[in-house]
C-alpha cells in the first residue's frame, strides 16, 4: 500500500491532538499520589464541594430534561413563523461568555434586577443561595441538551408517529412511546453534554450565586479557592483529578447507554 504525504500529515496531526489533550490529564494524576487523593477527599471543604456539585447539577439536569424535552419536540416537529428566531434565542447561552451570563442573571433576578422584586415577593432567595447555583446551571447548560434533542427529534420518522396515532395513541402516548425511544441516542448525548457543562460551570455561578462554602461553592469554585490559598495547589489538583474521573465516567456511561447500543442493534440486524 502506497502512503501519501497527506496520510502521514493527518497521522501526525492526530497524534499531536491526542498528546495535547492527554498530557495535562496525565500531569494532574502524576502530581497527586492516590493516597493524597484520598486525603484530599477526606477534607470537609472538598467533600462538601463535590456533594454540592453533584446535588446542584442533578437538580439542574432534571429541570433541563423535563422542560427541554417537550420544548425540543415541539420545535423539531412544528414549523411556524419566527421559528429560527426562537432557535437562536434558545442557543444563545451556548456562545454567551459565562461571566456575561452571570451578570445577565443578576440584572434579571438579582436584588436590584428587573424581576428581583417579584422573585423575593414570592419568598425565593437566589443570590448567595444554592437555588441560585441551580438557576445559573440551568441557564448555561440547557442549550447543550436542547440542541441535541431538537436534532434527535427531527430525525424521527414522522410516519412512525402517524402509525402510533392510527393505532389509537394520543399525541402524548406517541411522543412517550415512539418519539422518545427513537430519539434516545441523541437525548442521551444531550444529557451527557449538558451535565458535563453543568459540572464545569464556574463564571455564571460565581457572579450570580457567589462562592460560599457548603452553600454555593461547587467543585470548580472550590478548586479555584484552594488554588488561591497559599500552598493550596495540591488540594486543587486532587479535586481536579476527581472531577476528571467523574467526567470520564459520565462520558463512558452515556456512550454505553446511547450511541453504542444503536450500533449493536444494527449489528444484530446484519446477522
Amino acid at each position: 500500500m502506497r502512503r501519501s504525504w497527506f496520510a502521514g500529515l493527518a497521522l501526525v496531526a492526530a497524534l499531536a491532538t491526542v498528546a495535547f489533550l492527554l498530557v495535562p490529564v496525565i500531569a494532574v494524576f502524576a502530581n497527586v499520589s492516590p493516597a493524597r487523593l484520598v486525603d484530599a477527599l477526606g477534607e470537609e471543604a472538598a467533600r462538601e464541594a463535590l456533594l454540592l456539585s453533584l446535588k446542584t447539577t442533578l437538580i439542574a439536569l432534571a429541570i433541563v430534561v423535563v422542560v427541554g424535552t417537550p420544548t425540543a419536540y415541539l420545535l423539531a416537529a412544528r414549523d411556524f413563523p419566527g421559528r429560527s428566531v426562537v432557535l437562536t434565542i434558545i442557543e444563545l447561552p451556548l456562545v454567551m461568555p459565562p461571566a456575561v451570563a452571570g451578570i445577565a442573571l443578576l440584572a434579571a433576578f438579582g436584588p436590584h434586577g428587573i424581576l428581583g422584586g417579584a422573585v423575593s415577593a414570592l419568598g425565593i432567595e437566589l443570590v448567595f443561595q444554592t437555588a441560585g447555583v441551580i438557576v445559573a446551571l440551568v441557564f448555561v447548560s440547557a442549550p447543550f441538551f436542547r440542541r441535541q434533542a431538537i436534532a434527535a427529534f427531527a430525525a424521527v420518522d414522522g410516519r412512525l408517529l402517524e402509525a402510533a396515532r392510527t393505532l389509537g395513541a394520543s399525541p402524548f402516548r406517541a411522543f412517550a412511546t415512539v418519539a422518545v425511544p427513537s430519539a434516545r441516542g441523541g437525548l442521551a448525548s444531550g444529557v451527557a453534554l449538558s451535565w458535563g457543562r453543568a459540572l464545569g460551570e464556574f463564571g455564571a455561578t460565581l457572579l450570580f450565586a457567589g462562592s460560599l462554602q457548603g452553600v454555593t461553592r461547587t467543585a470548580p469554585l472550590a478548586i479555584f479557592s484552594a488554588f488561591a490559598e497559599p500552598g493550596g495547589f495540591v488540594a486543587a489538583l486532587a479535586l481536579s483529578a476527581v472531577l476528571i474521573l467523574v467526567a470520564a465516567a459520565l462520558l463512558l456511561g452515556v456512550k454505553l447507554l446511547g450511541g453504542d447500543r444503536i450500533e449493536a442493534d444494527e449489528g444484530a440486524a446484519r446477522l
Partner: protein, 440 residues
C-alpha cells in the same frame, strides 16, 4: 370500534402543485383501489380518511359516524378514528419487537396482549419472529407484521398504501393471496392505493384512476381496460387479470378458466391463481382457419366475441367476451379496416420497452392526454394481411392468442414450423402470461 358499514368520503384540498378533489364510497367486502402514478394525490386521500391530513373541505363518514365535516367543524383525531393503516414502508416501530408492535394498538388487559399478538402473528405465519426487531426481518415478514399490527385493534376501516411495492415478485404473489383473505374475512371497507394497475386489479373490485388529484375514470379493471377514458388511462390500464385454477403439465402450467377454456403459462403454479396479460400482448384473428393453429407459435387461443371498440388516438381497445372479459389493443387503423391486419398491428405495439412495463412511465403528463407523443414513439409495422372485413361490435373472433414474438426470428419461421420447440414457447410465454399468485 365496531361501526361496520359503508365508508363515504369526499375531499377537496390543495396539494403541492394541484388540487385533490375526489370522492369515493367503499362497502364492506368490496375493496376500492386508487390507482395512479406517484405524486397523484392517492396517499393524501388515504391520509385524509385516517385523519392524518386535514383537508380544506370535505366529509368522511363511516356508516352513521361522521369523522370529518368541514362545514360543521367536525374533525376527529386519528386515534379516535382508529383506521387500520398499512404504511408503504410499513412504519414498524424499530425499537420494539414484532409482538410489541402488534400489541401497541390493542385495547385489552396488559397480560392478554402477548398471547393475542402471538395469535395474530401465527395467523400470518410469522409467529417465530415474535421477539425479533423489524430491522432483522425481510420485506415480506415486515409486511405481515405490519398487517397484523394494523388489524390488532379490529379497525373499522382498512387503508393500505402501496401494500405490495416493497416486496419482490415471489413474495408479492403470496401477499396478494394473504391480503384477499384478510379483505374477505374482516368485512370492513377497504381502500388501497397502488401505482400498479395489475395489483389494483388483483386486489380490488372497483378501481379509481386518478391523475393530478382528479378522478379520470372508475369501474372494474376489465371495464377500464376495455374502454379507457383517455390515452393516459390506456397506457396505465395495462393488465387484464384472469382468475382460474392452475395445474402442472410437465414444465408448463395450464390454467383452467371458469368458462371452461384454458390458457398456458410458463410460470409454475398450482391451485387458484390470477393471471395477467397486457392488451398489447394479445393479437386477434377473425374467422381464422382452425388448421393454422398447429403451425402457429401462439399457444393460447380463445374463441370470443367483440363487445366494445374504443379508439384512443391511433390505438383501439377491443373488449372481448371470452370466458373471462378480455381486452386487446390494436392500431385504430386495423380495427377500422383490416381485421386480418390486427395480428400485425398488435405485434407493432409489442416490444416497446416502456410499453412492456406500465408501472414505469417516464414522460411528462401532458404527453399522455392526446396520445400524440406516444404515437410518435410507437413503431408500426405494415399490416400483414388485408381483407376487407370490418371489425364491429358482435363480431365473432374465433381465436385469440398471445403472441410469441420476441424471439427475434422472422414471422415466416413460425408460420412454417410444424410444432414449436418447448423452450421457445416457454421463453415467449414467460413474457406474456404472468401468474399474479393465489387468487383465493
Amino acid at each position: 370500534m365496531s361501526g361496520r358499514g359503508a365508508l363515504a368520503v369526499s375531499v377537496r384540498t390543495p396539494l403541492r402543485g394541484f388540487e385533490l378533489e375526489l370522492g369515493l364510497r367503499a362497502e364492506a367486502g368490496a375493496p376500492v383501489a386508487l390507482v395512479g402514478r406517484s405524486g397523484s394525490g392517492k396517499t393524501s386521500m388515504l391520509r385524509a380518511i385516517a385523519g392524518l391530513l386535514s383537508p380544506a373541505a370535505g366529509r368522511v363518514e363511516l356508516a352513521d359516524a361522521v369523522w370529518l365535516d368541514t362545514e360543521r367543524g367536525v374533525d376527529l383525531a386519528p386515534e379516535r378514528r382508529g383506521c387500520g393503516f398499512l404504511f408503504q414502508d410499513y412504519a414498524l416501530f424499530p425499537r420494539m419487537s414484532a409482538w410489541r408492535n402488534v400489541a401497541y394498538g390493542m385495547r385489552r388487559p396488559r397480560r392478554e396482549r402477548r398471547p393475542a399478538a402471538l395469535e395474530l402473528l401465527e395467523r400470518f405465519g410469522v409467529a417465530a419472529l415474535a421477539d425479533a426487531r423489524p430491522a432483522t426481518m425481510s420485506g415480506g415478514e415486515r409486511q405481515r407484521v405490519a398487517l397484523a399490527r394494523a388489524l390488532a385493534a379490529r379497525p373499522p376501516v382498512l387503508l393500505l398504501d402501496e401494500p405490495l411495492a416493497a416486496l419482490d415478485s415471489t413474495t408479492r404473489r403470496e401477499a396478494i393471496g394473504a391480503l384477499r383473505a384478510v379483505f374477505a374475512e374482516t368485512a370492513t371497507p377497504v381502500v388501497l392505493v397502488t401505482h400498479s394497475f395489475e395489483e389494483a386489479a388483483a386486489l380490488a373490485g372497483e378501481l379509481i384512476v386518478i391523475e393530478a388529484g382528479q378522478e379520470i375514470q372508475r369501474g372494474t379493471a376489465a371495464a377500464i381496460s376495455a374502454s379507457p377514458a383517455s390515452a393516459f388511462v390506456a397506457d396505465f390500464s395495462g393488465a387484464v387479470v384472469l382468475r382460474g385454477e392452475a395445474s402442472g403439465q410437465d414444465d408448463l402450467t395450464v390454467v383452467r378458466l371458469p368458462g371452461g377454456a384454458a390458457v398456458w403459462s410458463a410460470d409454475g403454479a398450482r391451485g387458484p391463481v390470477a393471471l395477467s396479460v397486457f392488451p398489447w400482448e394479445i393479437s386477434i384473428e377473425v374467422d381464422a382457419e382452425p388448421a393454422r393453429s398447429s403451425l402457429d407459435s401462439r399457444l393460447n387461443r380463445l374463441a370470443c366475441e367483440v363487445t366494445t371498440i374504443t379508439t384512443i388516438g391511433s390505438r383501439a381497445r377491443i373488449g372481448l367476451a371470452a370466458p373471462e372479459p378480455l381486452v386487446a389493443e390494436v392500431t385504430a387503423a386495423s380495427a377500422a379496416r383490416r381485421p386480418r391486419g390486427l395480428m400485425a398491428s398488435t405485434d407493432a405495439t409489442q416490444g416497446e420497452p416502456y410499453r412492456s412495463d406500465p408501472h414505469d412511465h417516464q414522460e411528462p403528463d401532458h404527453d399522455y392526454h392526446d396520445g400524440t407523443h406516444r404515437r410518435r414513439l410507437r413503431r408500426f409495422a405494415p399490416p400483414e394481411y388485408s381483407e376487407n372485413v370490418k371489425l364491429r361490435r358482435g363480431h365473432r373472433v374465433d381465436r385469440l392468442s398471445t403472441a410469441v414474438d420476441d424471439l427475434e426470428l422472422p414471422p415466416a419461421v413460425f408460420k412454417t414450423c410444424p410444432w414449436q420447440p418447448r423452450e421457445l414457447i416457454e421463453t415467449g410465454l414467460r413474457q406474456w402470461l404472468r401468474c399474479c399468485g393465489p387468487a383465493l
